[in-house]
Every structure is written in structure tokens, then in C-alpha cells.
């Protein structure tokens, strides 16, 4: 029992809490669930009205509740805490260093000038926060100065005005020590003044100064809190009239307390939550200081002669002389400290690595494809696909669902755009080396699993089949001697919201939705064919055997061609553009290549790095279509404008399809609409066309809808409800442009600059994530500070 009482709890708890604070300072904003501008909007869910202010612990989404306007308190605290701690540390550091040095030297003087003492006394009389108040009052309100400037002024002024008190206490202690016998002795031995200070006096004061340092941190936070109560928030105060409210710019903790001051009468949690965090902050430092003081005191304390109330009962931790040889000796304290460091680093790494995990829509089925493809002289493809499937959901799976699109083109299909028929023969399907039952209906391949697939487990599916693509098909097609294979393998469907998300194939826009996956494709072709694919390292023309690999792509496209010309050029960052064409059309190859290069370079510069090393452009009869690292363009159409627009459009898809994913069936507008906007922006910005010219295509689509008298429809409807592709392509582009024109002033000087910046930020935010309408609205709402209702005209939220 006695031993337990002697443990220096405040030191250990203090160290732990301070590390926690430092951790929050470093990683707080990353951990914050919401941004500072996102608000909880009043909503009606499950028969309950949810509206701000939310109480703490009432909703899982807002663990600490929200304030009156719906801002998440936890996020504000996580963003603000670093200001509080860092500012306090900065001020303390400056004043302690300057104050200690001055104090040490002045304390050495034979006599301290009386004006100095008088000044110190006078200075200690004036409350410091009052000086800061009078200084900050004329400059702190309504963003007259930038936050950074304000913080700079605050730190400098607060440091300067508190230096005298530090000087005074260090000076007194130095003067005290200066009278000691050992200083006398050192002087007699000829020690210089610097030596006396740094070798004899400072080591004696080291511990006191450390304790003082930590206490001063608390003191600085106190001053910040006092200022906040009179509406001076560190980093700036926003003042709004009617009703008069004050808002902290930085969301620094004491500012949060200050801005919620009037909540003592109601909704007290808005005030209490930041107050408790602030209290935790100060108590952590106080505990640390107290713990250190206990330790140092117990080392030097003498036992009192009479009975008094408080006797520190800590066990002294003294230096053991003679044991200095050991560099590292293991004991509980050091071990615990090491553990704390490891936890700190580990948790930090974890937080950093998972910082984007809450962005985008989740999919719980992952696949890795290893496919062997063999083509014979008759154009029959023999495939052995080994697919490693991972169940990342919490459910146990009974079956696996794949898209098997070649199967919809077999004899008797009803697609007018597909001339011929495909022949598809599934030979065998194995799961983990054992034959498995399956059903194949239209393009849905369901494989019954012999054993339930537990959560987080992996299974290997092997599908052996052969196919012949249809003559003049769509995407999956044979054009004379050329074969175009898109979605030619069983593609694992997404598993979202507890079920397989698989919709039927339909003609026209894309209907399949798969996640990013890694691919390895081994191919063998007859002599004379060229293998072109999504992969970065395609073989040289007419090499008919080999393996290609590709990581993190949405699907894997293959073209097997014969006798096509190759033209090459290089865009930014050494990305190779290859253009494959025949010479029987009227489009100029050089112009097309230049346009492709211009568009890709423009997007590389304005939006972000191109995700692959190579872009293949194949000009042949068929649809205009994008695949990762490859696009197909039809050069036989007459409309030159549409031809040019399409090249740019498909290249833009490399970003907004290839990297930013979406559910093409239910949320097709997300890639098509934004790609259309990006395409128009290319003509608007890079080619400097007028707005009417650049946005001619989307506007034309909307005009067609008007002519057809289709009325209004949301853009985010599933494919089978879509009345006109214009809602999916044109409407988002037109609406986005409208928004940019209305809101660009928030972010920059003109529509062009802000539009491209928006695309770039959107792209970087959602790289390799899936976006749906909700995610898009959440991002855009926050970006342009608009409410959800802003999108009501064209999105169903």
C-alpha cells in the first residue's frame, strides 16, 4: 500500500496525456470526420427529425454533437487543438529562452539597477491579458489581417510582454545561487562569467526552469482563454450582426469556448464540450509539471521537524554515481516510455494510412485476375481465367456473382447495334480446385460456392471457356481482321450494402460496375496479329506470345489487330501516346495525334498526373469508348466537331472513369457528366473557344431534350429509367458550368481557373475511390459552400 502511494502518478498520467495532446495536434485534422464548413442539415429519417444542435452521444455520426448551426463539435476541436497547443508552446519557448538568458546574465550583476526592479514591479501589476486585449482589439475583428499575420503578432506580443516576469524570477534565483560558496570557489579559480553561468548556475536551475516552462504553457492557455471570454479569439474573430455573434476563425479551443459563451443558458453542451477539452489540455500540462516537481522535490527535500499537513511522499530517483558505465539499463519506467513512443508512432502511421478510408463508396468484393488467352486461326478465343476473390464484408457468401458480358451476344440477342452473333461455350468452373455449380443467365454468372465464404477469406475461382466475338458488335466485336475485346472475361460484381450489385446488360451506355483490380494476362495469338491492351508495356507489333500485367485498373481491354499503322508521340511526363489506324478514312492523323497530345498534356497539367505510362488510341469502326490506358475512336463518322470532341472526351475518361470510379448503371452521370464538363473545359481553356462554342455539345443535348418534349429528369437515375442520354451527359456539364459561374469568386478569379481547380481537387480527393451522387454532393457542397438544396434542380438527393 505504502509503495503504491509513493508512485508519482501525476508524472505518469501527465506524460501520457501530453503525448495524447501532441498526437491530436499532429493528426487531429486528419482524424476529423467532417470539414470545418460541413453542416448537419435538418433531415427526416426513420420518422425522426434530425436537426442541429445535436446533443453529444445522441448520434453515431456526431459523437460530440453539433452546435446550433450544425457544425460538428468533434471536428472543430480536432482542427482547433493544434492551434491552442502549438501557439502556447511557441510563446512559452520564446519567452523562456529569452527570459532565462537575460535573467541569468542580469542575475550576475553586482547590483540590479533600481529602475529595472521598479519596472518589474510595475509590470507585474498589470494583468497581461489586458495588454494583449488592447493590442488585439483594433486588429482582431472580421479578417482585417490574415490569420497567419494575426497569429504571428499574437505570438510575438504575448512573448514579449511576459518576458519581464521570467527575467525577474530567473534573475532572483541566479542572484541567490551567486552567493553560494561553490560559486565563490569557482571565481577564485578564475572561472569566466560564461563558465559560471553555464557550468555552475544553469545546471542548478535546469529542473526549476523545466517545471516553470510547463507551468507557463498553462499560463499562456489561460491568457488565451481570458481573451476569448472578451471575444478576442486567437487567429481572428468573425463578428456577425443581427444577432450579434462572434465566431473563431481558427476554431482554437479557447475560441470555441468563447464563441459558445452565451450557451450557459441552453444547449450547454456546445460550451461544455470544448471547455472540457480545454480543461483536459491544461490539466495534462499541470499534471506533468506537478509530476516533475514532485520528482525533483523528493530528490532534494529535507524532512520537516514538526507535524505539517502536506509532506510529499515520493520516492527519490537519484543519479547513481559509479553506475555511469551502463548506457542503457532496462527498467519499468524506460520500458513504459518506449512503449508509449511505439504506440505513438504506430497509431500515427495507422491514422495517416487510413486517412482517406472514409472517402467514397465502399465495395466489399475484391478480385485479382490471372488470365490465359489463346486465339486460334479461326478467331476462336480459348480462355482460362483464374480469379482470386476476397470477401471483405462481414457477411458469409453463398455464391459469387460475375458479369459475363460475352454471353448476351449469343444467337437470338435483341441488340440492333450488334450485327453478328457471339459463340460462347463455358467448359468448366472450379472453386479452389473443385468443380462448382453455376448458372449463366444473360450476362449474370452465378457460381454456387461449395462452402460458405467467410468474412475476410479468399477463394480462387477458375473459369474455362471459349468464345468468338460477334461481327460488328459493340465494344466486344470483330471488325474485319481486328478483334476488340472489352469485358471479355468474368468480372466480379461489386458487393455493396450487403448484397451483390449486379444489373442486367442493356444496349447503349455502360451497365457494368466493377472495382479496381490487378491483372495478369498471358496471351498467344496466331502469326501476324498485334496485341494492344490496357497494359503499359504492350509487346512490339506482331509479337504473338507473352504476358502483360496491370495494377489497379477498372477493367482490361484487349485489341487484336492486323495491318494497322502506328503513330507515336509523347505527352507530358514521358507518357507515350500510340495511335493505331488504317488509311481508309478522311481524318488527318497528325491533327488527331496533336489533339490527343494537347488534351492529355492539358489534363496532366491542370488535373493531375496521368495514371498510366501509355495511352493507346485505336481508330476503327465501332463505338467511341474508353478503357484504362486505351480508347477507341470511330474515324468514319462525318461530324468533324464530334470526332474532335470525342477524342478529348475519351481521354478525360482516363481520369473520370479510369481513376475516379462510379456505379455506371445507377450513377452513370458521375463519370459521363464530369467527363463532358472536363471536355468542354478543355476547349474553353486550352483552345480558348468562347463559352458557347466550348459547351456546344452539352447545350445541344439539352436542346434536343427540349425539342423532344421530354420535360425534366434528374441526372442520377438508373440506366433503365433514363429517358435520354442528355440527362446523363449534358445536364451535369451545363449545371456544373452554371455553378462555377455563380460561385467562382469563393475560390479564384475566373471561371476557367476555378473550374479546372475544382476538377483537379475532385480528382485528387476521390482517386481510386468510388463516387456516387451523395459523395459528389458532399464534396461539392463543401467546396462551394452551398446547401444540399443547391443541387435539387438536377440531382435527386
Amino acid at each position: 500500500m505504502n509503495k503504491l502511494l509513493k508512485i508519482n502518478y501525476s508524472l505518469y498520467i501527465g506524460i501520457f496525456c501530453v503525448s495524447l495532446l501532441l498526437f491530436l495536434c499532429l493528426f487531429g485534422p486528419i482524424m476529423a470526420p467532417y470539414s470545418l464548413t460541413e453542416t448537419l442539415e435538418t433531415q427526416y429519417t426513420d420518422g425522426k427529425i434530425i436537426s442541429p444542435p445535436m446533443e453529444p452521444f445522441e448520434s453515431e455520426d456526431y459523437p460530440l454533437g453539433t452546435d446550433k448551426w450544425g457544425y460538428d463539435l468533434l471536428s472543430m476541436i480536432l482542427h482547433g487543438i493544434r492551434y491552442t497547443v502549438v501557439i502556447a508552446l511557441a510563446i512559452t519557448l520564446i519567452k523562456m529562452i529569452v527570459g532565462t538568458i537575460l535573467g541569468l546574465y542580469i542575475g550576475q550583476w553586482k547590483r540590479t539597477p533600481s529602475w529595472m526592479i521598479a519596472f518589474e514591479n510595475a509590470w507585474s501589476y498589470v494583468p497581461l491579458f489586458l495588454i494583449l486585449y488592447f493590442f488585439m482589439m483594433p486588429i482582431n475583428f472580421n479578417g482585417q489581417l490574415e490569420t497567419r499575420t494575426l497569429l504571428g503578432y499574437f505570438i510575438v506580443i504575448a512573448s514579449i510582454i511576459s518576458i519581464p516576469s521570467i527575467v525577474s524570477s530567473v534573475r532572483l534565483k541566479t542572484a541567490e545561487l551567486n552567493k553560494s560558496v561553490y560559486i565563490e570557489a569557482a571565481k577564485a579559480l578564475g572561472a569566466s562569467r560564461n563558465r559560471l553561468i553555464w557550468k555552475h548556475i544553469f545546471p542548478q536551475l535546469k529542473e526549476t526552469i523545466l517545471v516553470m516552462f510547463i507551468l507557463e504553457i498553462v499560463y499562456v492557455i489561460t491568457i488565451m482563454g481570458q481573451l476569448a471570454l472578451v471575444n478576442i479569439f486567437v487567429g481572428g474573430t468573425l463578428m456577425r450582426f443581427d444577432p450579434l455573434i462572434y465566431i473563431s476563425v481558427t476554431k482554437e479551443l479557447s475560441g470555441l469556448v468563447g464563441q459558445a459563451r452565451l450557451n450557459i443558458y441552453g444547449n450547454t453542451h456546445i460550451l461544455i464540450v470544448p471547455l472540457i477539452v480545454l480543461l483536459f489540455t491544461t490539466i495534462s500540462f499541470s499534471l506533468l509539471a506537478n509530476g516533475l516537481k514532485n520528482r525533483f522535490q523528493s530528490n532534494y527535500a529535507r524532512t520537516p521537524w514538526i507535524r505539517i499537513g502536506q509532506v510529499p511522499r515520493m520516492k527519490p530517483v537519484r543519479k547513481q554515481f559509479g553506475k555511469q558505465g551502463k548506457f542503457w539499463s532496462l527498467n519499468g519506467e524506460k520500458l513504459a516510455f518506449l512503449g508509449l513512443c511505439l504506440i505513438f508512432i504506430g497509431a500515427g502511421t495507422y491514422v495517416y494510412l487510413t486517412k482517406d478510408s472514409d472517402v467514397g463508396v465502399k465495395n466489399f468484393s475484391k478480385a485479382a485476375y490471372d488470365i490465359k488467352l489463346e486465339m486460334d486461326e479461326n478467331g476462336v478465343f480459348n480462355i482460362a481465367a483464374t480469379i482470386q476473390v476476397k470477401n471483405k464484408s462481414d457477411d458469409a457468401w453463398k455464391e459469387l456473382v460475375f458479369y459475363f458480358i460475352p454471353n448476351v451476344f449469343t444467337e437470338g440477342h435483341a441488340f440492333e447495334s450488334v450485327k453478328g452473333n457471339a459463340i460462347v461455350k463455358v467448359k468448366e468452373i472450379e472453386v479452389n480446385g473443385k468443380k462448382a455449380d453455376y448458372s449463366l443467365e444473360k450476362d449474370t454468372l452465378k457460381i454456387t460456392l461449395p462452402n460458405n465464404m467467410k468474412k475476410q477469406s479468399k477463394q480462387t475461382v477458375k473459369v474455362e471457356y471459349e468464345f468468338t466475338p460477334p461481327e460488328q458488335g459493340v465494344r466486344f466485336s470483330k471488325e474485319k481482321d481486328n478483334y476488340y475485346l472489352a469485358q471479355w472475361y468474368p468480372m466480379l460484381a461489386t458487393y455493396q450494402n450487403g448484397k451483390w450489385n449486379k444489373e442486367d446488360y442493356s444496349d447503349g451506355v455502360e451497365t457494368y460496375h466493377v472495382d479496381f483490380a490487378n491483372y495478369k494476362v498471358e496471351y498467344k495469338l496466331p502469326e501476324g496479329y498485334t496485341f494492344i491492351s490496357s497494359a503499359d508495356r504492350d509487346p512490339k507489333p506482331e509479337v504473338n506470345k507473352g504476358t502483360v500485367k496491370m495494377k489497379k485498373v477498372r477493367d482490361f481491354f484487349i485489341a487484336v489487330t492486323k495491318d494497322m499503322d502506328i503513330h507515336e508521340t509523347t505527352a507530358n511526363d514521358g507518357v507515350k501516346i500510340r495511335l493505331f489506324t488504317k488509311s481508309d478514312h478522311d481524318k488527318k492523323i497528325d491533327d488527331s495525334l496533336a489533339l490527343a497530345k494537347g488534351a492529355l498534356s492539358f489534363f496532366q497539367e491542370k488535373i493531375g498526373a496521368y495514371p498510366h505510362k501509355q495511352l493507346d488510341i485505336i481508330l476503327d469502326n465501332g463505338p467511341f469508348m474508353e478503357y484504362p490506358g486505351a480508347v477507341t475512336i470511330n474515324p468514319y463518322i462525318q461530324d468533324m466537331n464530334f470526332y474532335r470532341t470525342s477524342i478529348v472526351h475519351e481521354i478525360a475518361h482516363q481520369y473520370f472513369y479510369g481513376v475516379v470510379a462510379n456505379d455506371q448503371y445507377n450513377e452513370g452521370w458521375v463519370d459521363e457528366g464530369i467527363t463532358e464538363f472536363a471536355t468542354s473545359m478543355y476547349f474553353y481553356v486550352a483552345e480558348n473557344q468562347s463559352e458557347g462554342q466550348a459547351f456546344a455539345l452539352p447545350k445541344h443535348r439539352m436542346d434536343m431534350i427540349k425539342e423532344a418534349g421530354l420535360g425534366r429528369q434528374y441526372s442520377n437515375v438508373p440506366v433503365h429509367e433514363l429517358k435520354h442520354t442528355g440527362y446523363m451527359y449534358g445536364q451535369p456539364a451545363v449545371e456544373l458550368l452554371k455553378m462555377m459561374k455563380a460561385k467562382y469568386r469563393l475560390k479564384g478569379d475566373n471561371v476557367k481557373e476555378v473550374g479546372m481547380q475544382f476538377l483537379s481537387d475532385y480528382y485528387h480527393h476521390f482517386m481510386y475511390k468510388e463516387v456516387n451522387t451523395e459523395e459528389f454532393v458532399r464534396f461539392t457542397k463543401d467546396y462551394f459552400l452551398v446547401p444540399s438544396g443547391y443541387f435539387n434542380g438536377w440531382l435527386n438527393i
Binding site: L130, I221, A301, I308
Partner: protein
Amino acid sequence: MFRIIQQMIIIFLLILSLAALPMIIEVNSAESKLEWHFEKLPKVYGDFISEVSKGSLGTYRLGTQVRNIEQDIGDNFLTSLKVMLIGVNASIIISLLFGIFLSRFRLTKLFNYFINILAAIPDFIIIVMSMILAVKIYRWTGIRVISLRPDAGALNTWFPTVLVAIAPTLYLFKLISVKYFQTSSEDYIRTAVAKGMRLNYINFQHVYKNIEPFITAELVKVISLAIGNLFIIEYILNVSGITKFIFQSGEIQPIAIGLFAMLLISAIVYVSVRLVFYLFKRGFIYE
């Protein structure tokens, strides 16, 4: 004596420059830069001095009204003085009692824990928390503990007085405890114990006498702590004290007058504490 005059002059100058700060700092919004207008200083001070030399304290703005300071300052001054006098004296007596004379009793230990916990909490948090508590108490029991109406008399001022007393008590109690601990291991205490003197006797005659100088030395600091909190407390609790002049405008007249009034209050409180000490020594300790 020379030093006291020196100090007075420095404090005087300090207050004047502090009061002029809001007038000379300005933000140039075109360039968003901070600008110091030192050239305004002569006029600012000139106006102030000419006003004072006329025998008037000048005017201040209350909303759209312009009022004379000397008309209003009397009541406000007395309110603040009362709060400060009671607060600081009480805090000194309490910390002396518990720090030295009652230090050895078990009950004091409890008090000590309580104080230690409070000491870890910054003053402004205590102030805000206690206000929340007061509102809650009213909600639960219907008993009005405090009133924020300036004309509510004692209901308006007792709570500020307690809050003003908290910070100095915490500070002094800690200081006295540490000093008591240090003093009690001195040799003269051993001698006294060896002579068979009673504990109370030692506390009065040996310990107190040796601790008192430290308290006197820290007295300015203690009063300044109380003053610092007084600003916050009067502002938040809507006590119409002297700080009303200081926070309500950016003009030099009310700020300077307010600060000088504060100085006067501090001086009175300082004298009163010294008087208490003097009486205590005359009453209990043989010189």
C-alpha cells in the same frame, strides 16, 4: 522611497501608453498591414491632460449617450472596491489559516485536495463552470443563486467576490504550503521543538514570522491576479464595476481613468492587507 516614486511613474506611463494603444494601432485594410500611428500620440495625450487639468474626468459613450465619467464613477468604484477588498482579504486569511495554523489537521487535508484540484483548473474555466452550475442550480431547485442584473444588490456581487477570491487563494495557499514545508525543516524549528515549545506557539512565533515577508513580497502579484480576474468576472457577470469604462470603448479617457481607478483600488487593498498583518502581529505575536 525613491523606488516607490520610480514605480509610480512607470505604472503611470504604462497605463497611459496602454490606454492609448487602441487609438494608435490601425489596420490598413487596403494592404492588410498593421500600422502604428505614433503621430497621434501628442494629440491623444494633449486632450487627456487638458481634460484632466480642467478638473473634469471627461466623458464616455454609453450606447448613443455621452455621459460624464465623474457622475458615474463613484458607484462603480465602490462596487469594484468592495469586491476586491473582501475577496483579497478573505483569500489571504483563508490561505494563512489552512496553510499554516490548521495545516496539521485531517480536515485540512481534504481542503488541500480540493484546492489542489481547483489549482489545476485555469481561473477562467472555473468562472465559466461555476456560472453553468449556478444556472443549473436555478433550473433544478428554483433558487436564484446569482443575478446578472446590475441592480440586484448582494445577489449580484457575492458571487463575483467569491470568484475574485479563488485565484489569489489558490496561489497563496500553494506558496504558503511550500514555504511552510521548507521552513519546518529548518534548524531553528528543531531547536524550538527541542525546547519543548507547543506547536501553536512555534507556528505563531517562528513559522509565521518567517513566512510573512514572502507573502508581503508576493502581495502585488496576488492583487494583480485578483485584478486580472476582476476584469473577466465583471465583464461576464455584468457587474457594473470599474471595468465597464475599460471594455466599453476604445477612447483614451474612460480607459485611462478606469485603469487609474483600478490602481487606486489595488493601493487601497494593499494597504488594507498590510494593516491586517500589522494588527495580527500586534495581537498575537510578541515582537
